[in-house]
């Protein structure tokens, strides 16, 4: 019995139609369209279309197209947040991401990608890469004018096209970017604080050790 109260009921059309003036509904419809037509000439807010190449509708913050890589600061190489951890590469359902870790001459990881390619002809805009990224690096872009006449290289985005500054992210999706920036700042502060605390502790210990065993300075600091 209670369930029926959940249904939103319209006025009974059968009863409404039975004794109405014949043709009244048609007339009402005609009036509506006539209003549309006449008001479209002087009420600008009615028009939903824009003259596209000259005007552009602002894109919604929720609009999501192909991914981009965020970097801090001004240098897209040094500031890149990506650490080439390859989580997004593994999670990507259509496997459109290709990452090669950058290593120095000794083969030691530099924690940044040497190659980061996204084949946007394969990408399906699912946003999983953005969700799984632990380094706040990959986000969905808002750019949509991507048509090209080169369907191979023109659709394979490398680091040069993918890397976009954090400011761009802030402009594109302020809410998300602010939150991310705040979190990163907090983490940074925390890290700094921990480091400072650690350093202070280490210094204190060192001082203590120096008091006890002056000869073992090198060893204690190394731990």
């Amino acid at each position: 019995m209670d369930q029926s109260s959940n249904i939103h009921r319209l006025p009974d059309p059968a009863r409404a139609a039975r004794w109405s003036l014949p043709g009244l509904g048609l007339f009402k419809g005609l009036v509506v369209t006539a209003q549309n037509m006449i008001q479209s000439y002087y009420r600008k807010e009615r028009m939903t279309t824009v003259q596209y190449p000259e005007q552009r509708a602002p894109i919604s913050p929720n609009f999501r197209n192909f991914p981009f890589l965020a970097y801090d600061g001004v240098d897209p190489v040094a500031g890149l947040r990506c650490t080439a951890c390859s989580i997004c590469e593994k999670e990507c359902p259509p496997q459109c991401i290709y990452i090669v870790l950058d290593r120095d001459a000794n083969g030691k990881s530099l924690k940044r990608p040497r190659i980061f390619d996204i084949d946007v002809s394969v990408c399906m805009n699912c946003g999983i890469c953005s969700e799984v990224c632990p380094f706040d690096s990959i986000y969905m872009d808002g750019e949509y004018e991507l048509s090209t006449d080169d369907r191979f290289d023109g659709l394979l985005f490398g680091l040069d096209r993918l890397a976009k500054s954090a400011d761009y992210h802030m402009k594109l999706r302020p809410e998300q970017a602010t939150e991310v920036a705040a979190r990163r700042k907090a983490e940074e502060d925390k890290k700094l604080a921990t480091q400072a605390a650690k350093e202070a502790k280490a210094k204190a210990e060192q001082a203590k050790k120096q008091q006890e065993l002056p000869g073992q300075h090198e060893k204690g600091a190394d731990v």
Partner: protein
């Protein structure tokens, strides 16, 4: 009601009235100056007259294809085509170039001869029908004594052409579209013709110029004596209008080519120039049927108010044509497509009886008016038409009203 025969000005011989016939005169004069024999002069003049009509309506077709898109766009709060030329005025040209440069595809299972014949058979009757309509006092391309019969006779050819188009394509959607189109056209042709019969009864002639001339003058000095402004004429005019929308395959009766259901109906397998011919035939048919409606019920080229006789008569005709065509566009922008059973039921159970009723009404009207019982004519014909109409609508409201919705689970 006293019919005050206010003459709408003596037949003026000044230039604008003759303007549409100027090409014909010019060609005839040139031919005579060149010393051509009389029969050749006549034929050349006739070709010039035909070319005038065809040219005017092809221009109208191009313009209408643009205006229709702009109007529908405005009704839907869009802007519409505005890129090609000033306010998109060159859009029809762009469309035409696009159509002409497209590949002409004939499906493998099609019968190429019939497939080719169908678009031609669609266009020819429309142009033939345009030839008998009186556009102005002096501008009647072909004066036929049996003009109305000729109009309907060539109009029936469209059905066969639609069938040929659907069958010769050798494909399912065209076939379905053709079956829908034929059943719709056959059903709506009946009320269309019967509602025109009343006009013939009152006028006493099948000649379209005679029908227009019979509607000259004004009631009470200012109400034009058009057939529409009489009880039977209003009834027949409304029926004619609805049936003509269906005959022209326009929304809300555009089932034969309902895009969301059967692609493009009988035109599905056509491309390029042949498709453009279908499109053209449809619009020319629209012009023809609205022109006939204007001739029969809206006084043809007669001026709407006394004292306006100085305006060339064909301008009145085309002004009325613009109004009628715009009303078609308005209706297209407003109403959703009807279902096939609603369409058929409406034609046979509502339009046809009402159209048949206009015949006795028109007969009584003629007889009573001839004997100067004008008030009696109104008193008899208005209830004769109004009461059955009210009964019909009451029945319809009961039978076609949407059912009260019941919920299987929620209501139990």
């Amino acid at each position: 009601m006293i019919l005050l025969a206010v003459s709408s000005g003596a037949p003026s011989l000044w230039a604008p009235e003759w303007l549409p016939r100027l090409p014909q005169r010019l060609v005839e004069m040139i031919c005579q100056a060149l010393g051509a024999p009389d029969w050749l002069v006549a034929i050349a003049g006739f070709i010039a007259a035909a070319a005038t009509v065809v040219g005017v309506f092809l221009g109208g077709f191009a313009l209408l294809s643009l205006i229709e898109r702009k109007t529908l766009a405005r009704i839907q709060n869009r802007i519409g085509p505005n890129r090609a030329g000033w306010f998109g005025i060159l859009q029809p040209v762009a469309d035409g170039i696009k159509m002409l440069t497209k590949e002409d595809i004939v499906p493998a299972k099609a019968e190429w001869l019939l497939h080719l014949a169908a678009p031609i058979l669609i266009v020819v009757p429309s142009i033939l029908a345009l030839g008998v309509i009186p556009y102005g006092r002096e501008w009647v391309p072909v004066r036929l004594e049996l003009g109305l019969l000729f109009f309907f006779a060539v109009g029936t050819l469209t059905e066969l052409a639609v069938f040929i188009a659907g069958w010769a394509s050798g494909s399912k959607f065209p076939m379905l579209g053709a079956m829908r189109a034929i059943s719709q056209m056959v059903s709506y042709e009946l009320p269309l013709m019967i509602s025109a019969l009343g006009v013939i009864m009152v006028t006493g002639s099948l000649s379209l110029p005679a029908i227009v001339e019979h509607q000259g003058g004004f009631h009470l000095g200012f109400i034009p004596a058009w057939n529409l402004f009489s009880p039977w004429g209003l009834s027949a005019g409304i029926i004619f209008y609805i049936a003509s929308i269906a005959e022209a395959n326009r929304c809300p009766f555009d089932l034969p080519e309902g895009e969301s259901e059967i692609v493009a109906g009988h035109m599905t397998e056509y491309s390029g120039f042949k498709y453009a011919l279908f499109f053209m035939g449809e619009y020319l048919g629209l012009f023809a049927i609205s022109g006939l409606g204007i001739t029969l019920f809206l006084g043809g080229w007669q001026a709407p108010l006394p004292g306006l006789g100085f305006v060339p008569s064909w301008i009145w005709f085309f002004a009325k044509l613009v109004v009628v065509i715009m009303s078609y566009l308005w209706i297209r922008g407003t109403f959703p497509r009807v279902r096939i059973d609603q369409l058929m039921r409406f034609a046979w159970l509502c339009l046809l009886p009402m159209a048949l009723l206009t015949l006795p009404a028109a007969g009584l009207w003629t007889i009573l008016n001839r004997n100067d019982h004008n008030v009696l004519a109104w008193l008899i014909t208005v209830p004769l038409l109004l009461i059955p109409w009210l009964i019909l609508t009451a029945i319809y409201n009961r039978r076609l009203a949407p059912q009260t919705r019941t919920y299987t689970f929620a209501d139990s």
